[in-house]
C-alpha cells in the first residue's frame, strides 16, 4: 500500500471508531449524551495527538527509538503534586483546589521542572542529551519515592482520590479545561510546523546537522519546549500515559518506512488516536470500567516494548 493510501485507511479507521463512540448504544435523551460524548472523543483525540507528537519528536531529538518524554520525570512531578495536595488537604481537596486551578498549577509546575532541567543541561552551550535524560530520570525516581511514601501515610479513602489521578481516565474531563488544552495543542503544532524539515536533519545526528548549517541548540531547545508543553497539558488533562508514546511511535515506524517527519507526525497522531479510541472502547465495553485506559495501554505498550528490545539487534 502506498503512503497516501495508508494514511487514508488510518483516517477511515479513526472516523469509524469515533463514530462508534458517539453513536453506539445512544440513550433516548440523545442530545445531552451526544454532547458529552463529543467532548470525550475530542479530548481523546487531543491527548492522543499531543502524546504522539511529543514522543515522536523526542525520539528524533535523542536519536533513539525507545525513549519517551515521560522518562524525563514530568509525570513524577505531576504525581508528586497530586499526592501533596491530598496529603495536605485530605478530603477537603476538591473544595480547596478546583479542577481548573489544579490543571494550571500542574502545568506550571511541569514547565518549571522542564525549564530547570534545560538550564542545567544547556549551560555553557554544551548540550548533552543523555545527561539530560539521566538527570530527569534520577529526579523522576526521587519524586516517585517521595510520592510513594506520602501515599502510604494517606488515609485509604483519601488514597482513592490520588488513585484516580494516578491513572489516566477520560471519564471526568472538565469541559473548560478541554478548550485550554486544545488551544495549547494548536499553538504548539503551528509553531512546530514551520520547522518540520529541520527535524529531518536533526535525525541525521548532531554533527551532520551542524555540518548542514542548522542552528542545532536553538532548534533542540524549541522542540524540547514544545514537548514539555504537550506532555504537561495531556498529563494534566487526563493523567499519565507512560507507554503510549513508545507504542505508537514504533508502530508508526513499522507501518511507514520513511524519514520524513511531514509524514511521520500526522501518521503517528492517527495511530495514536486509534490506539486510544480502541483502548477506551475495550475499557468500557469489555472490561466494564474495571480498569483504566492507562493501565491497559501501559500493559500492552510495555509488553510490546519488551518484545522490541529483545528482538532488536541494534537500538
Amino acid at each position: 500500500m502506498s503512503i497516501p493510501n495508508k494514511i487514508f485507511t488510518l483516517v477511515l479507521i479513526t472516523l469509524i471508531l469515533s463514530g462508534l463512540f458517539l453513536f453506539y448504544k445512544l440513550p433516548n435523551n440523545w442530545e445531552y449524551a451526544l454532547e458529552r460524548r463529543s467532548f470525550k472523543v475530542a479530548s481523546m483525540l487531543i491527548v492522543s495527538c499531543c502524546i504522539a507528537y511529543s514522543s515522536l519528536v523526542f525520539q528524533t531529538l535523542t536519536n533513539n527509538k525507545i525513549l519517551t518524554p515521560s522518562i524525563m520525570g514530568f509525570e513524577a512531578v505531576y504525581l508528586l503534586f497530586q499526592t501533596l495536595i491530598v496529603f495536605v488537604y485530605g478530603d477537603k481537596t476538591f473544595q480547596v483546589i478546583k479542577n481548573s486551578d489544579n490543571f494550571f498549577i500542574s502545568i506550571g509546575l511541569m514547565m518549571l521542572f522542564a525549564f530547570l532541567l534545560f538550564i542545567l543541561i544547556f549551560k555553557r552551550g554544551k548540550s548533552n542529551m543523555y545527561f539530560l535524560l539521566l538527570i530527569g530520570l534520577v529526579l523522576g525516581t526521587l519524586f516517585g519515592t517521595v510520592s510513594s511514601f506520602l501515599q502510604l501515610v494517606i488515609d485509604p479513602n483519601e488514597f482513592l482520590i490520588i488513585e484516580g489521578q494516578m491513572f489516566a481516565s477520560f471519564n471526568k474531563i472538565n469541559t473548560d479545561l478541554f478548550w485550554y488544552a486544545l488551544a495549547f495543542m494548536i499553538l504548539s503544532f503551528i509553531i512546530g510546523f514551520r520547522q518540520i524539515k529541520n527535524l529531518d536533519v536533526i535525525a541525521l545526528g548532531k554533527e551532520a546537522a551542524v555540518n548542514l548549517g542548522l542552528d542545532y541548540d536553538k532548534t533542540v531547545k524549541l522542540y524540547l519546549f514544545i514537548i514539555a508543553v504537550l506532555v504537561a497539558v495531556s498529563t494534566a488533562l487526563v493523567g499519565p500515559m507512560t507507554f503510549l508514546g513508545i507504542l505508537v511511535t514504533n508502530l508508526t515506524y513499522e507501518l511507514f518506512k520513511t524519514y520524513k517527519h511531514s509524514i511521520l507526525i500526522p501518521a503517528c497522531c492517527l495511530v495514536s488516536c486509534i490506539a486510544v479510541l480502541g483502548g477506551q472502547f475495550i475499557v468500557e465495553q469489555v472490561f466494564n470500567f474495571n480498569t483504566t485506559i492507562s493501565i491497559i495501554i501501559n500493559f500492552v505498550g510495555g509488553i510490546y516494548f519488551m518484545f522490541l528490545l529483545l528482538k532488536a539487534k541494534k537500538i
Binding site: 525513549l67 519515592t145 502510604l152 488513585e163 507507554f243
Partner: protein, 274 residues
C-alpha cells in the same frame, strides 16, 4: 532492647551491606556504573512477586512471600541482563534508562492486576522501606542475605570477568553460565529478603559503589569490604536522621535514603559532566 533495638540495628546493617553489594555485583556484571536494583527493574520485580504472593497465597507466612519475590526477581534479572547485553555498546547511560523503563513495565503489569483486585495500596505498603516495624520474630529472614554476601566476596573477580562478555570469559576458562547464575542468585536473594523484611531502599545500590569507586578506585578485592562498610554506615546515618528530624515521629528509611541518595547521585553526575 533485644526485642526491637538489636533486631533493628542488625537489620539495618545487613540491609545496608546487602543492597550495596548487590549494586556492586550488578555493576561488575554489566560493566556499567549506573546499574543497580533501582535502575534494572529488580525492585519492581520484587513488587510483582509480592503481588503474586498476595493474590495466590494470601495467608502464607513471610518465607513463602520471599520465595515468590525471589522467583520473580531472578527471572527479571535474567531478562534484564539479556537486554543490557544488546545495548551495552552504545552510550553508557542507555542501560540504566532502559532498565528504568523495564522496571516501569513490570510496574504497569503489577498495577494492572493490583487494580483489578483492589490491592494497590496494600502492595505499595509492602514496598515501603521502613525499619520501625522490625521486631524480634519478623526480621530473622534478613540473615539469609549473609550467604549471598559471602559468596560475592569469594566470586568477586569472577563477576568482573563475566562482565566483560561471554567470549572473554570462555577465553579465561570461566564457566560463563554458572558464574552468571550465581551472581543473579545472590542479587535476587538479597533483594527479595531485604524488600520483604525492610521494604525498598532506592538508590543505595547505585550511590554507595559509585562513591567508593571515586574514593578508592576499582580494585574489587579492596573495595568490596569498603563498599559493605560504607553501605551499613550510610544506612545507619540515614536512619538516625530519619528518627530525629520529626521527633518523636519517624521518617521511613526508604524516603530518607531516596532523598539523600538521590541528591548525592545528582551531585556525582553533575560533577562528572564537568
Amino acid at each position: 532492647m533485644s526485642i526491637s533495638r538489636i533486631p533493628r540495628t542488625v537489620a539495618l546493617i545487613l540491609a545496608g551491606v546487602g543492597m550495596s553489594i548487590c549494586g556492586l555485583i550488578m555493576q561488575q556484571m554489566t560493566q556499567n556504573r549506573f546499574v543497580a536494583p533501582t535502575t534494572a527493574g529488580t525492585l519492581d520485580a520484587a513488587k510483582m512477586g509480592i503481588l503474586a504472593s498476595i493474590l495466590f497465597a494470601s495467608q502464607s507466612g513471610n518465607f513463602t512471600r520471599i520465595l515468590f519475590a525471589f522467583g520473580f526477581t531472578f527471572l527479571a534479572s535474567i531478562i534484564f541482563l539479556k537486554i543490557a547485553d544488546r545495548i551495552r555498546y552504545r552510550n553508557i547511560i542507555f542501560v540504566p534508562l532502559v532498565g528504568l523503563m523495564f522496571g516501569g513495565i513490570l510496574n504497569s503489569i503489577t498495577t494492572f492486576f493490583a487494580y483489578k483486585n483492589n490491592v494497590v495500596q496494600n502492595v505499595n505498603a509492602w514496598m515501603v522501606g521502613d525499619f520501625s516495624g522490625i521486631l524480634q520474630g519478623n526480621y530473622e529472614l534478613v540473615y539469609l542475605s549473609i550467604p549471598a554476601v559471602v559468596i560475592t566476596y569469594l566470586y568477586a573477580n569472577k563477576f568482573t570477568v563475566v562482565g566483560m562478555g561471554e567470549n572473554f570469559s570462555k577465553n579465561l576458562g570461566l564457566n560463563y553460565r554458572t558464574v552468571l547464575n550465581i551472581g543473579l542468585f545472590c542479587v535476587a536473594l538479597t533483594v527479595s529478603v531485604v524488600v520483604l523484611t525492610v521494604g525498598t531502599i532506592p538508590f543505595l545500590g547505585l550511590v554507595i559503589p559509585n562513591i567508593v569507586s571515586i574514593l578508592y578506585g576499582d580494585n574489587l578485592r579492596k573495595t568490596l569490604p569498603i563498599t559493605a562498610v560504607f553501605g551499613a554506615i550510610f544506612l545507619l546515618i540515614c536512619d538516625i536522621i530519619g528518627r530525629l528530624i520529626i521527633f518523636p515521629f519517624e521518617v521511613p528509611i526508604g524516603m530518607t535514603v531516596g532523598i539523600v541518595g538521590g541528591v548525592i547521585f545528582l551531585i556525582l553526575l553533575i560533577k562528572k559532566q564537568r
